[in-house]
């Protein structure tokens, strides 16, 4: 990993460790305070534990033009971005992070082209619903590998992360703590429950916290919907299209709506946020990621609404193009933040428990 980001973050964190005014905001500062010296792995861990609430920046008496020039959100974002790049697998495509927006658009164009071509050129002779445009087996042949391969890539990248931060064996209690923290998104609570300082200077707001959870819940519901469809198809021989009161739709429609609201809101907040507190080169890729998620959910909902209409002919490949783009970009986009964040929360739970057992001895 290029050391300038690490060096700069270390310089700032040493000042934070002598100050400690921010320790009530999130988990990062209590974690910092367990150390006196900071190895590279420690800083990578802080960077991925940071949820970018920006409370520490607005509370800091040492921001520029002060000569200490403290900007922890940006310093950690920079390390975070570099750590994802460094841990990506295969390593050669880690550079995609620097060109995420371009990568997203290219993958998008290619995916759309392939799917439009397939639905036209390889349209099956028979089939119900959207299977009349693309056969189930062809969909499986495309989407299973394009989902599983990125997942393997993410798995390898998280494994590399875990090694870099010195993680040990995982216990149930760490998982419980990490999942609890994720579910409440308590690192975006500001410590007092009034949220973070993201979209309007130093004003605290829970908008980002709620919108993130809408996105997360929507995503999980959509994922559950897909799983339930798979189960119905293979387990019960019940093939799509499913009715409105079926399990896949009862999960997928609210999921899609939540995902639309969440991602649209996050994209809007992102346009309001101070770019000086983030990594300029990452902005486009992050925005592209949010918009692809939005596109995936929006086209999915429209596709469902258009069931039986001729427009399905265009909407299906459009939707599938978004899905394919999203899948393929999982390991090389902002999507990895979720996996790394969960790992960082696990590692933090582990460190806190080691620390308290040290203290009790």
């Amino acid at each position: 990993m290029p050391s300038d980001a690490i060096t700069e973050a270390r310089r700032q964190i040493q000042i934070c460790n002598a100050c400690r005014y921010c320790e009530g905001y999130c988990s990062v500062f209590p974690a910092i305070q367990m150390h006196r010296n900071f190895a590279e792995g420690d800083i990578v861990q802080f960077a991925n534990l940071c949820h970018d609430c920006r409370g520490c920046y607005h509370a800091c008496q040492y921001i520029a033009p002060h000569e200490f020039d403290i900007n922890v959100p940006r310093a950690l974002a920079s390390v975070r971005q570099q750590s994802w790049k460094a841990h990506a697998w295969p390593s050669c495509v880690g550079q995609l992070f620097d060109r995420s927006a371009l990568a997203f658009s290219s993958v998008m164009v290619v995916s759309l082209a392939i799917l439009f071509w397939l639905t036209t050129a390889m349209r099956p002779a028979s089939g119900e619903g959207f299977y009349s445009f693309m056969s189930h087996s062809l969909m499986v042949a495309i989407f299973v590998p394009s989902f599983l391969l990125p997942l393997i890539a993410v798995g390898i990248s998280v494994r590399r992360y875990w090694k870099a931060v010195g993680g040990g064996s995982i216990r149930w209690q760490y998982i419980a703590k990490a999942v609890n923290s994720l579910a409440r998104m308590d690192n975006l609570s500001g410590g007092h429950g009034e949220g973070c300082n993201f979209e309007d200077g130093d004003r605290f707001s829970n908008a980002r916290r709620w919108l993130h959870q809408a996105t997360l819940a929507g995503f999980l519901l959509c994922f559950a919907s897909t799983c339930s469809g798979t189960l119905l198809h293979y387990g019960f021989g019940m093939e799509a299209p499913y009715g409105f009161l079926s399990v896949p739709k009862l999960l997928g429609v609210p999921g899609g709506i939540l995902l639309c609201i969440g991602t649209a809101g996050l994209a809007w907040l992102k346009t309001k946020a101070d770019p000086n507190l983030g990594v300029a080169s990452a902005w486009g890729g992050e925005m592209a990621f949010i918009l692809v998620l939005f596109g995936t959910s929006a086209t999915g909902l429209i596709l469902f609404a258009a069931t039986g209409e001729p427009a399905v002919q265009f909407l299906l490949p459009l939707h599938l193009g978004f899905v394919l783009t999203f899948f393929l970009m999982i390991p090389y986009s902002k999507m990895v933040h979720g996996f790394h964040r969960l790992a960082a929360l696990l590692r933090n739970a582990e460190m806190m428990s080691e620390d308290s057992s040290l203290r009790s001895h």
Binding site: Q14, I15, N17, A18, C19, R20, Y21, C22, E23, G24, Y25, Q33, R36, G55, C56, H58, A59, C60, Q61, Y62, I63, A64, P65, H66, E67, F68, G190, G191, H192, E194, D202, R203
Partner: protein
């Protein structure tokens, strides 16, 4: 800009935007006054020295919010008596202490959030309520609250002159964007802090040694308003030649280094001057009771510089520093890296080591592990400096605040020759010398600011409306 030139009426003009100024502005606005805040610093540096604070000392009859137990008026006043050696105005002090209890709720109502005591501050956990995020977060919250109420702010507005005539402030002149603008407010609250960032004034008060002092707080606290009022004959209080100073990291910036330049290593070190010679008992008492004397001690040494020397056994016994200590494998090399005479430092360390006695070293209490026949002695925590690597910090006096201020009544009104100026009130550091005449009590400056800010704001608004 309200109140400027012939524009619409201005009820209350507040000078400064620290804790006292903001509580005054909010209090005045809540009564219905039109309020304008003039701050000398640009917006990013608003808040004066409040930016560097983190708690306020709060009386409480029983567990209150983050504060456990109780802290009664008499215990509080006793603490104040002890640190000021009686150099306080008892009536004003008791008023401040009694009013501090209701400040807790008032602060919460106006956007301040409290948190359990920060790590490393256990000694304050019962008496001091910590603001979540520290002083700058408090300033941000108050500024939001004030702005939402309709208080107006102008940053980069340097108040140069208050025209005092016949016991009234007739006009306030401020320099804004290179132009002098005049304001004609009905009431004025002066909450513009002390003069510790005014080096020339410090040199006048202290002597040329003050040029070597570092100023821990805002470079904008130059005492221009204080000086202007003193020159027009208002009553002052507090010793003009005194300031509160602690020994801080010599590498700290000239201004505004704040909390992170603090060093807590002295009890576990020996401290030498630039000649490599010790000059005071480093283990006199527990650090929280002694840290405030070291600013003066270092200020009295040649070139106002000192060096704390310790070894690897002590490196983890105190709060980490913003700058890493100077490190060396031997005392000789450490001396070289610190710019000290090798022979002198080696001799001092050897003499110290030879006078250390066996015994149990207990870093968190007075362990009685004293040197034998050493002058000056080290009365506690004296164990040989012998385990490499060796470490050193350069120490310089860091000024926190000055004591000279405006003499006020219980209604925060400023006086001239013993009788009040009709429309001038003061709050915060600019008048704190009335109550804290000497010494230092953690979080008490914020208490004075909050209590007198509220009083000044209410009185100023009542006069104007």
């Amino acid at each position: 800009m309200p109140g400027s030139g012939s524009n619409k009426a201005l009820d209350v003009l507040v000078i400064g935007s620290g804790n006292a100024a903001l509580t005054a502005a909010i209090s005045a606005r809540e009564i219905g006054a039109e309020v304008l805040v003039l701050e000398a610093a640009p917006e990013v540096y608003r808040g004066g020295n409040t930016r560097h604070t983190r708690n306020f000392r709060c009386m409480h009859a029983g567990p209150t919010g983050v504060l456990p137990g109780e802290y009664g008026e008499n215990e509080y006043f006793g603490d104040l008596q002890r640190v000021t050696k009686g150099n306080t105005d008892e009536a004003l002090a008791r008023l401040t202490i009694r009013s501090s209890e209701e400040c807790y709720g008032w602060m919460q109502d106006h956007g301040i959030r409290f948190q359990p005591p920060l790590s490393g501050t256990l000694s304050l956990s019962r008496t001091n309520a910590f603001f979540l995020g520290g002083g700058r977060a408090l300033v941000n919250a108050y500024c939001r609250t004030a702005a939402n109420l309709g208080v107006q702010f102008v940053y980069g507005a340097l108040v140069r002159h208050l025209e005092l005539k016949d016991r009234r402030i007739l006009r306030v002149d401020a320099e804004i964007e290179g132009e002098t603008k005049s304001f004609f407010p009905r009431s004025v609250v002066a909450a513009s802090g002390g003069f510790q960032a005014n080096i020339d004034w410090m040199v006048d008060a202290w002597g040329p040694a003050a040029r070597n002092f570092l100023v821990r707080g805002s470079p904008y606290n130059r005492g221009i308003v204080l000086r202007n009022l003193i020159d027009q004959g208002v009553d002052t209080v507090g010793d003009p030649a005194q300031c509160h100073a602690v020994a801080i990291d010599g590498r700290a910036p000239k201004f505004d280094g704040g909390i992170v330049t603090r060093l807590d290593c002295i009890p576990f070190s020996i401290v030498v001057n630039k000649h490599g010679v010790r000059f005071h008992d480093e283990g006199e008492d527990l650090w929280p009771k002694r840290y405030a004397i070291w600013g003066r001690l270092v200020a009295a040494q040649p070139d106002q510089i000192g060096f704390a020397i310790f070894d690897s056994r002590s490196i983890e016994l105190f709060m980490p520093s913003a700058y890493p200590p100077v490190e060396a494998k031997s005392v000789e090399v450490l001396a070289m890296r610190l710019g000290l005479s090798k022979e002198a430092l080696v001799a001092t360390v050897e003499e110290f080591n030879n006078t250390c006695r066996p015994g149990t070293f207990r870093p968190t209490e007075l362990d009685g592990l004293a040197t034998e026949k050493l002058n000056p002695p080290k009365s506690n925590w004296a164990r040989p400096i012998s385990n490499p690597p060796f470490f050193g910090y350069e120490l310089r006096p860091g000024v926190t605040f000055t004591y000279l201020g405006l003499c006020v009544s219980a209604s925060a009104q400023v006086r001239a020759k013993g009788s009040p100026i009709e429309n001038l009130w003061a709050a915060g550091e600019i008048m704190a010398g009335s109550i804290l005449g000497e010494g230092y009590l953690a979080g008490f400056g914020m208490t004075i600011g909050t209590v007198f800010g509220r009083i000044a704001g209410c009185e100023a608004a009542a006069h104007a409306l």
